[in-house]
Symmetry: C2
Subunit: 382 residues, 2 copies
Amino acid sequence: MRNFSFYNPTRIHFGEGQIDKLAREIPAGSRVLVTHGGGSIFQNGVWQQVEQALAGYTLTRFAGIEANPQFDTLVKAVELGRREGCDFILAVGGGSVIDGSKFIAAALCHAGDPLDLLTGTRAKAALPLGCVLTLAATGSESNPHGVVTHVARQEKLPFSSPLLYPRFAILDPRTTFSLPARQIGNGVVDAFVHTLEQYLTYPADAPLQDRQAEGLLITLIEEGPKALANPEDYAVRANLMWCATQALNGLLGCGVPQDWATHMIGHELTALYHLDHAQTLAVVLPAMLAERREPKRAKLIQYAERVWGIEGDEEAKIDGAIAATRDFFQALGVPTRLADHGLDAEAIPQVLAQLERHGMTALSERRDLDLDASERILLRAL
Amino acid sequence: MRNFSFYNPTRIHFGEGQIDKLAREIPAGSRVLVTHGGGSIFQNGVWQQVEQALAGYTLTRFAGIEANPQFDTLVKAVELGRREGCDFILAVGGGSVIDGSKFIAAALCHAGDPLDLLTGTRAKAALPLGCVLTLAATGSESNPHGVVTHVARQEKLPFSSPLLYPRFAILDPRTTFSLPARQIGNGVVDAFVHTLEQYLTYPADAPLQDRQAEGLLITLIEEGPKALANPEDYAVRANLMWCATQALNGLLGCGVPQDWATHMIGHELTALYHLDHAQTLAVVLPAMLAERREPKRAKLIQYAERVWGIEGDEEAKIDGAIAATRDFFQALGVPTRLADHGLDAEAIPQVLAQLERHGMTALSERRDLDLDASERILLRAL
């Protein structure tokens, strides 16, 4: 096992009715900037629960944080928060709203150009942030990371700071009942790929972390399809919500190599061609596993045996595991080919140019995945 | 899944050489009360590493916190800390030193009789506490709980407060190389039973938590015997250390029923007859599983299948799992019978009287384990 440090101070309140705990978690007298996406929180009753729990607080609402939250949108929220003297941020939504709200929390404490915070300047302070999660996917509700899209630059810009751990996250599975099937499928794929990127590398004498990851993967395989079949099955939604949080709260990656190449290539596909984040992962990951068959051989076999229960010789196990992964994503309604998104080989050079521009020329757990390899992966994904 | 809240702010630094991080974690200028057990930290070099990392700090050393730390001993540490104006506690040792240091941290901020803190008064403040762990077992390094023994009252008194989460815990597996085999065996049993007490109850629609627990159990089964066979195998010690922390950091118990009856009965055996803590668990647990065969039936079968890989009919699986658990403990050098500790049926009435005196008359995940059932368990453990 490698040396590591682990720290995660987010307080989780999980279950039905937990939105009631908001007033316990936000200091009395706070001026709260409540951030959200579109109108779904009015339709599904979440806003009403939040407003009722925070009666007596000064609430300023900022609507319109989009999927892949945009810098220009978030700057407007920063201006609103500053004008209203807000001193606490409450994100109500999924990973995009929470990622965007992390940026807002840091930008409200930053004197210079907010873009600094996405281009190398680490936040020195941030307003306290809490979340009411309404979509199980990214794990942003209990980690210190975010990604913001800069449309004019066609870039997804990641940022991170220990100051940006949410103080608390409220996870009520009922808030996810009304989600469209596309978002459920995307969420399961996102959590699954987060887990694989911390697991499917090479053996590192870390049997507990391996089994924690395998347990997560198997649970997602079992529960994901049920969530699509029975959208109001509370137990299923609860299990998916807890899986998604656990998939990216830092625990799985403790002491093991990690490979975020699928995310890095996927980010460029979203920035250029506007695929959903999870759609990019479902396209890139099976191709990545095929391309990286040799460096990932030992773990691919373990993945085949323990997660998919595949028997046979080594090659059959690896082939079977990659095919099963692709089939799983497709059964969740998430396509796994660039062609499914209307993209062909002509789309690839621009992705490679972006990867080069962003310094993504030595990806993977071994830092040996160069642009040629990325090209082969994209060709396999056509 | 049941509703739950989860919070664990302890920062973990894991691996070789991490003791160097002490100066980063303890505020400069602190007056540090360093607590430890016997002389082992001088022999294995841990004290020298601590002293070197904290050059420039004012250190006051308190030696002699025993296994099952005693109230009378800890009160002396409180007096020393008060006299020296200490404002930070650094526990260097295993679960007993850390548990005792939690009590010291709270008592140094308590104006009245320190015994209050063990008899119903919750701590209102506590000095900050950090740990250098030297024995993988209890999980105390990243949880808010402790147990202190009051010799005159023949009682083990548990206490808990969110104020008592260690600020940080340094886990260097090398510090455990020199431990005697008895402490290694005890540590594995302790972590194993902590896991089982959060797992072996009844199904609760929590498949991820089940698999996290099963992953831990299987890893302990694989690694425990290796640690005895090859005391200086770093990877094995690292895996055991991480398992023990994960077994009682609060995560496994999220959203599921729990059954701490084995611990409660075990505590009385230690208080009355001075068995090691883990020795009591190894004696009580197999008897508990046999006695609770029906209420635990579904999970016993799952445990047999997934953890021990036992095939056959239901009864054979349950019998096999209980026998395998007993054999595992014995192979670790931890006996599983009261007779192995020189105790016979005459020892039982006093245990039952203590349980009654402490209100332990409705134990288990179903609150239906009464004194008669405890008696049957102890008879099965003879």
